[in-house]
Amino acid sequence: MSKKIESAYIEGAKKAIASPTLQKSLDNIQDRFGKGAMQLWKELEDQGMRDRVKESRMRTLAHLDIILMELAQKVRKRGGKVFFARTAEEAVAYTLEVAQKNQVKSVVKGKSMTSMEIDIDPALEKAGIEVVETDLGEYIIQLAGDTPSHIIAPCIHMDRHDIGKLFTDKLGIEPTTDPPELTMAARKALREKLLSADMGITGCNLACAETGQIALVSNEGNIRMSTTMPRIHLALMGMERVTATTDEQRETLQLLTRGAALQKLSTYVSFNGGPKKEGDPDGPEEFHLVIIDNGRSKILADLEFRESLACIRCGACLNICPVYGKIGGHAYNSTYPGPIGAVITPLLDGVNKHADLCKGETLCGACLDVCPVKNDLPRMLSALRYKLAYGDNRWNVRQHNVKEAYVYAAWQKAISHSSAYRRMIKTARLLQKPFIGKNNMIKKMAGLASGWTDDRDLPPIAQRTFSEIWDEKYAKRQQQTPAIKEETNNEK
């Protein structure tokens, strides 16, 4: 606390705040989608829907082992292959094995955050396999050698001028900033890739154990093509992204598209269930479902954080969070930014390592209100801070800030005795005198709270505190109201 934290989070935040392009895009996306989602929930005819889906998500998580076994059985019955990956490394190794066994030379990807989480691209590229993102936003990010800054809208930190320049550089098109022209250029380049790819790698929005199908929602159609055109389709799925029944899958998807893009239904909803059968006009020859743990079962086992696995990755919490609205996605240094990222990144990748994500929000609660499944992210952030405050064995957390811990231990002593507390306030009142400047405000503080006065003034401690005023002015008049006292006593 006394030394200002200068971290990647803060550096990233500063950079984002200084970028007018990003600030404008963040304003736009939040104004439209964040507020839009809040409005949508208010107007939702079926007001029980969110609670119902939440309940089904939590119930599914409670029986996840059984439901995943059921899913695996059904997928296998449809001719698909299922692999349970304990770690990112196992998932990557399996994917690579499938690719190599099938002499895959090129892979097209349909937007998958899980693929980023396990960092599959470098492994494939190292094996000499070309990897092309087909979601327009992800494609732009890939061309730019950048990372996504939003889970639904990966390139919101770029505007059409950035993209125009990028396309001229990388695709050799005539300079333009016209969105339809740019989209056409990408479409042309991507079509070629889609037609010639040997393997499609996608994520999985929501699998269904009852049918053994995975559902993918999209608006461009490229994700769907990645699943049907190449010889092999491999879907990477976080192990929590499953429902038991088709009814639950349908309702949950309806919340997903609403939360993500205010749509009752996305342009495409694909259900993929295994390789093509005889007589099918298209579809892959092989279908693989990789069900990935990579730290999730530890979250599942801790009831305090299990709720975070109810997330359906709609991104609505990013679209409403006032902190994300200023710092964008890159500052989080994680595949998953925003409020949901601030909770699951530390849990998946180390609480101390991502301490800034636990502490760098105001706990304003907007994310809880906008979340289609009402995930109580502020509660979980607060629980993570508790672990950082004193250390925690279960999550292998070291005490984060010894100095801060001392400050609160001293604070605790101070507030425990009102007379000592009041003396402390009096002393502070004397000490602050030299710092009081123009319009009776403190302009500069040293040590502990200096961060406050970097950009803000602080009102000084009052000449008379309320408790002093009370003693002087009001305390004595209390004895004069016996009649009233009696009556309140009766009320008790």
Binding site: K4, P322, E404, D457
Partner: protein, 247 residues
């Protein structure tokens, strides 16, 4: 209103830095002929420690608060976030201690934010205040989202004679205070409070008010640094104003 009595729970920041807000609240109770008491043992409800994760330290504050206030009939506080702390976080702190949990819940159920008490408990909307000027209102997060108190302050403001109430854009967006957040992450916090200030300025109001001094202190601190000409007042100060100034 004779016969009623409230116990004043004065947020630590109000006590030491904004005593005028508590005095205003007292003067309103006097005007309404509601008796009041101020347990002088009180210090801080523990919210700063809780929000920073220091729950063991916060628990000490919570236990103290419960001991001091549990025999009071009605507890009224001019700060939404402190009431939220008592109502919602005290039960979390004592989740594993059934006896304290029950006591925490009892105290929570009779702890009210000031405007909530006036409007919901006393059914008041016009308390005879008069204040000439254009006023806008900031919804503090724990007050509006945590306690669902949105309409109560607005009802009271709309009934102040001479006051022109103007809604600002995004009144319920966080001001960027967040306790130690503002100290540890000043760049982010400042960007947030600047947006709040732009919305306040765009509203054309001369005064910005609210029900939580923490947020108001943040807004005031930034307004002052930017040398903007907007006054910050706690809602109790506006409600205490009468034709002859503050009563």
């Amino acid at each position: 209103m004779a016969g009623k009595k409230v116990s004043l729970f004065v947020q630590c920041l109000v006590d030491s830095m904004f005593p005028q807000a508590a005095e205003a609240m007292v003067s309103i109770f006097q005007r309404l002929q509601i008796d009041f008491d101020y347990p002088t043992q009180q210090t801080c409800c523990g919210q700063p420690a809780f929000n920073s994760g220091y729950r063991k330290d916060a628990t000490v504050a919570a236990r103290r608060f419960i001991e001091i206030f549990e025999n009071e009939a009605v507890i009224v506080c001019p700060s939404g976030s402190c009431v939220h702390m008592v109502r919602h976080h005290y039960p979390e702190l004592f989740a594993d201690d059934p006896e304290m949990l029950a006591r925490a819940k009892t105290v929570g159920s009779k702890t009210f934010e000031f405007t909530q008490y006036l409007v919901d408990e006393l059914n008041l909307s016009n308390i005879g205040a008069e204040f000439p000027g254009k006023v806008t209102y900031h919804d503090s997060c724990h007050l509006s989202r945590g306690l669902q108190i949105n309409s109560q302050p607005r009802t009271l403001l709309r009934h102040i004679k001479g006051l022109e109430f103007i809604e600002m854009k995004d009144s319920d967006t966080c001001c960027g205070f967040g306790g130690t957040f503002a100290i540890n992450y000043p760049d982010i916090s400042t960007a947030m409070v600047d947006e709040k200030i732009e919305n306040i300025l765009a509203s054309g109001a001369e005064v910005v008010t609210g029900c939580d001094i923490s947020c108001l202190m943040n807004i005031q601190g930034r307004l002052s640094r930017r040398e903007e000409n907007v006054k910050v007042m706690h809602i109790a100060e506006l409600l205490a104003s009468t034709a002859g100034g503050q009563s």
